[in-house]
């Protein structure tokens, strides 16, 4: 439990407030000048902070064993997304075992709030939030992630395998 000290009348005065703020800045400036190692800020982009591998950043669309996309275009993620930034167009697949798949799957990453609801909604582990978090781009269009980017960008090294395997599911008769 935190104890809050109600500010007294003195805190509403102008000069004490300003001076104490300046003093704080000055204190850290002097400390950083003499002890650079303790400085908490990083010189991004030369130095990059390493988040844990479970960090929930940029989306990944997983793939099946044959490398095709796992998503079944059920649109549960798009329905669940509070930012409404996922747009999917479904189509009939030529593959007899697949039936429905997305011909378009786009995430407008600038609208995404990284809540992770899409990942949670997906019944087949087709969309995941990966550890990447740097989303630089040259213009607006580079923030609209399509299937090519979400599933097969070079960083994924050929795609991430989904945990839900239809073949196995069918083998167990469910």
């Amino acid at each position: 439990m935190s104890i809050v000290n109600k500010p007294g009348a003195i805190s509403t005065w102008y000069l004490p407030g300003i001076l104490s703020g300046l003093w704080l800045t000055l204190k850290y400036m002097i400390r950083n000048l003499f002890d650079k190692k303790k400085m908490p800020t990083l010189n991004y982009p030369e130095e990059v902070y390493q988040y844990g591998p479970r960090f929930k950043g940029n989306h990944i669309l997983t793939v099946k064993k044959d490398g095709s996309i796992r998503c079944t275009a059920c649109m549960l993620c798009a329905t669940n997304c509070p930012a409404q930034c996922i747009s999917i167009v479904a189509a009939e697949s030529a593959d007899q075992r697949v039936e429905k798949y997305p011909i378009k799957y786009e995430i407008d990453i600038l609208r995404c709030v990284f809540c992770g609801y899409c990942e949670e909604a997906c019944p087949v582990d087709a969309v995941r939030m990966g550890p990447e978090w740097q989303t630089a781009g040259l213009n607006g269009s580079s923030f609209s992630y399509d299937i090519q980017h979400l599933a097969y960008r070079p960083q994924l090294k050929g795609g991430i395998l989904s945990r839900v395997d239809d073949e196995e599911r069918h083998k167990f008769g469910i």
Binding site: C74, Q84, V124, I174
Partner: protein, 518 residues
């Protein structure tokens, strides 16, 4: 009138009522799959179990006629347990397809599981695999794994259309729906089987995978596909219209509608529509502000009357518009222009009287009766031959045509346009974008009209019933109704009233538990 007591509620029903209808009348929830009010009873799903007082065993409500003083209940633990087990058995072989199943969201299994099921499945055997994605015909796809063998579709083809395409083949848990020797299911009512199928076993090829049902808003309307005027439900969102289903109207269509009527959304969607007013002729078209185009066109029509002391104008009407619109156009000619040159464009004279005995009529205009009675009451008797004569002798200076909403049902469109082009000026009002109109060789105004989806009005169907059409949303901002157009053309109004801007159909999750309830 027998009095019955259902779950303790006392109600009075008509003699001969089935117990399940009595339950519905009393407003009591009752589980069911195979029962459909428009079909004969089958009693195969065993879900509508009730306990009848004085009867040691439970009975099915859909095949029990109520008797005086009967007391039944379906909220006892015994019944609930029976329904839960019934559902459990129905779902033994049902695949885990909901994510890719078009029915999800309006599925009888999902709904009733949430209402009456909520059990933990105890089945450890493997599921029986059956055929998936079987094309049954031009419009219907079958997935036999999802079928629960309620036999509604079979009863529909045997009792309603009497075409008997569908049947149940094999026995036990290998039983499945199919057509004999894989003959296609292509009758004009085939899509009703998709509607009545309580699960996703039968789906529509046209609608498959285009939208999830919870993204669709729905509204009631009247089918304009033919002069029967079935009551329909239109499903739409900001991306356009996606499908049409029948709504119950005992006086006109019962529970059904035909497959041709289900296509009428296609000529309402923006891509098939005339988007803005245009002026010009072949090879040289100019986009105009709608009010300006209407003022110019009206000026041209009135000038033709003023300059020549006898009528050099003519009006061509089709049975595709509402009574209010047609009346406005006729009044414009009769009183403002003092002309009786009003003609009825009959699109398919040979088929006009045809009727297939169920719903579909050869007269593919929703308001022919309305137009005919209007012309008769105004004593307009001009014949088409007269118009042809006048056009061929270049007597007509300005011709106003209130064209078709659905150009697909006007096989003579191109030929008629050649005829109309013989007038010096043409005022063409139509909601559809017609390629042939862009080829006319005479000075033409093209005025975009509203479709049935976007306006209020009255349609008179083949039985002479007046049916009210309600505006649902606006698709084309520039489009006007004929009465709005005529008001500007006659000079009574200066501009077209701005429509209200609606946002109520933005694509979001419109999910409602009621949707698709059996």
């Amino acid at each position: 009138m027998p009095k019955v007591k259902l779950n303790g509620k006392e109600i009075e029903v008509k003699p001969g009522t089935m117990l399940i209808d009595a339950f519905k009348q009393a407003g009591e929830d009752i589980a069911h799959y195979c029962y459909h009010p428009g079909l004969p009873t089958a009693g195969v799903c065993r879900l509508c179990m009730v306990e009848i007082e004085g009867n040691p065993r439970m009975q099915i409500a859909c095949n029990t006629v109520v008797t005086e003083g009967m007391s039944a209940r379906n909220n006892s633990d015994k019944v609930k347990e029976a329904v839960r087990w019934g559902l459990n058995f129905h779902l033994i072989n049902h695949p885990l397809d909901c994510p890719i199943c078009d029915q999800a969201g309006e599925c009888g299994l999902q709904d009733q599981y949430m209402k009456f099921g909520k059990y933990t499945p105890e089945m450890s055997e493997q599921k029986v695999k059956k055929r998936k994605v079987v094309s049954l015909g031009e419009r219907v796809v079958l997935d036999s794994e999802r079928c629960i063998l309620c036999s509604r579709c079979v009863r529909f083809t045997s009792e309603i259309t009497k075409t008997n395409e569908l049947g149940i083949f094999n026995r036990g848990d290998h039983a499945e729906i199919g057509t004999f020797e894989d003959k296609p299911l292509n009758n004009n009512y085939s899509m009703n089987t998709v509607d009545i199928c309580p699960v996703g076993a039968l789906t529509s090829k046209d609608f498959r995978f285009r939208q999830r049902v919870w993204y669709l808003k729905d509204a009631s309307s009247i089918c304009t596909g033919c002069s029967t005027g079935c009551k329909i439900r239109v499903y739409y969102n900001e991306e356009g219209l996606f499908r049409i289903k029948p709504e119950h109207n005992p006086e006109v269509n019962g529970y059904w509608m035909c497959d041709k009527g289900r296509d009428i959304y296609k000529h309402v969607n923006p891509e098939a529509r005339l988007q803005e007013a245009r002026w010009g002729q072949v090879g040289n078209w100019q986009v105009k502000d709608i009010a300006e185009a209407l003022r110019e066109a009206g000026e041209a029509i009135r000038a033709s009357v003023r300059d020549s002391h006898h009528s050099k104008v003519a009006l061509v009407l089709t049975g595709q518009q509402t009574l209010e619109e047609l009346t406005a156009a006729v009044k414009f000619f009769l009183s403002d222009l003092n002309s009786r040159d009003i003609y009825h464009w009959i699109n398919n004279p040979e088929e006009m009287e045809k009727f297939d005995g169920l719903l579909f009529r050869g007269d593919r205009n929703p308001n022919t009766k309305g137009l005919l009675s209007l012309l008769a009451s105004e004593k307009v008797s001009a014949t088409w031959a007269q118009l042809e004569g006048k056009l061929n002798s270049h007597e007509i200076e300005t011709l106003m045509v209130v064209g078709p909403e659905d150009p697909g049902v006007f096989p003579d469109l191109a030929a008629k346009l050649k005829l109309f082009a013989k007038a010096k000026r043409l005022v063409w009002l139509s909601s559809a974008r017609v390629a042939a109109v862009d080829q006319v060789t005479t000075a033409t105004w093209q005025i975009p009209l509203k479709s049935f989806f976007e306006k209020d009005g009255t349609l008179v169907n083949a039985q002479g019933r007046k049916q009210t059409l309600r505006k649902i949303a606006t698709l084309i901002p520039a489009a006007v109704s004929v009465d709005q157009a005529v008001a500007v053309m006659s000079g009574r109004e200066k501009a077209v009233p701005m429509g209200k801007f609606e946002l109520n159909w933005k694509k979001t999750n419109f999910f409602v538990g009621e949707r698709g309830s059996l």
